[in-house]
Point group: C2
Chain length 204, copies 2
């Protein structure tokens, strides 16, 4: 019997989507459990460190989205060929996460004045700084973000892109042709394409 | 000839110290290059995504502190016995990092009013929430933070502890006997003890 995978998350892409991309890529069947926001206060106390997504594999519970993505990447063979390649992949994933975090810090700011003060540094400095460097990396890696081939770093970035674009209210890859190539390379994988066609339609 | 390792970082423990612990544990000789803060503007443009620590291994440059720590953990055999154990270790490391980040957000806040407003949520809610759960995990894992034995999750936590304590201006393990056991288990490893005796004395 195949392992039973169950992903529990809000009804959004965000931190759940890299996991859904990875399982779809590898043909891993999974229950895509999306709870309503009104149920979160009931669920939260049962979640490790009060956070989601969580992933159940054969009844064992895992947490921390990047750690789970790395685990799934090993199962579906989207990792490097040695420890150094895995280090390069991990470093890119953490860099993409840094970028996501900086965008989220702006997006989620409740205080209008503070949010406004973060706008110019984010859009004029941080985003171009990160995106230019990631674009150069993609250029030097044959349309991928690490080690010159398709890895979970590419799936991680592309799966998060809708959410980052929604938070920033712009297309992050708009001016970066090599990042567009990364995106196209991932979205043209048949299993990913099939997932995107069947997934629920959500804003981010 | 043994590989040549060079760590480049500020003259502090912080994000460099888990890497120093891991190399010391495994008997990896390394150049511990600590630059003065006044030289940072000259160095920053040459660093990947403008950040340190970076690690050179035989002339190849790596970045992202957690990714580098994972790489070193593999070299010094402080990882799990299978992919699931590595997932459990990775999840704890990311959780410790979340905790570090929340403490740093308080510590580094420049605006006195904002900093004051973050004090009670951090000290009355966030810290007890994380530390109670980590303490229970340590209790259930034989004085370790994952998989019931010494792994890089333990070294990661204990290496960061001085810095987190300094930022929070308290001993985070004070009320948590099982976290004290984790600390003692790491600090009693002879190679770690020797490193701590010879390392430069810094505030954090």
């Amino acid at each position: 019997m195949a392992p039973a995978y169950k992903l529990t998350y809000f009804p959004v892409k965000a931190l759940g989507e890299p996991l859904r991309f990875l399982m779809s890529y590898g043909g891993i069947e999974f229950e895509d459990y999306r709870f309503e926001r009104e149920n979160w206060p009931n669920l939260k106390p049962n979640m490790p460190f009060g956070q989601v997504p969580v992933l159940e594999v054969n009844g064992k519970l895992a947490h921390q989205s990047v750690a789970m993505a790395r685990y799934l990447a090993k199962q579906v063979k989207l990792v490097g060929k040695d420890d150094w390649e895995d280090l390069e992949i991990d470093a890119i994933v953490d860099t993409v996460n840094d970028l996501r975090h900086k965008i989220a810090l702006y997006h989620y700011e409740q205080d209008a004045a503070i949010k406004e003060s973060r706008k110019e540094p984010l859009f004029k400095e941080t985003l171009p700084y990160y995106l230019e460097r990631l674009d150069t990396i993609a250029k030097n890696n044959n349309g991928h973000l690490a080690v010159g081939k398709l890895t979970w770093a590419d799936l991680y970035f592309v799966a998060l892109l809708d959410t980052m674009n929604c938070y920033a209210q712009m297309d992050l890859t708009g001016n970066y042709p090599n990042l567009q190539t990364v995106k196209n390379n991932v979205l043209s994988v048949p299993a990913i394409k099939a997932w995107i066609e069947k997934r629920p339609d959500t804003e981010f």
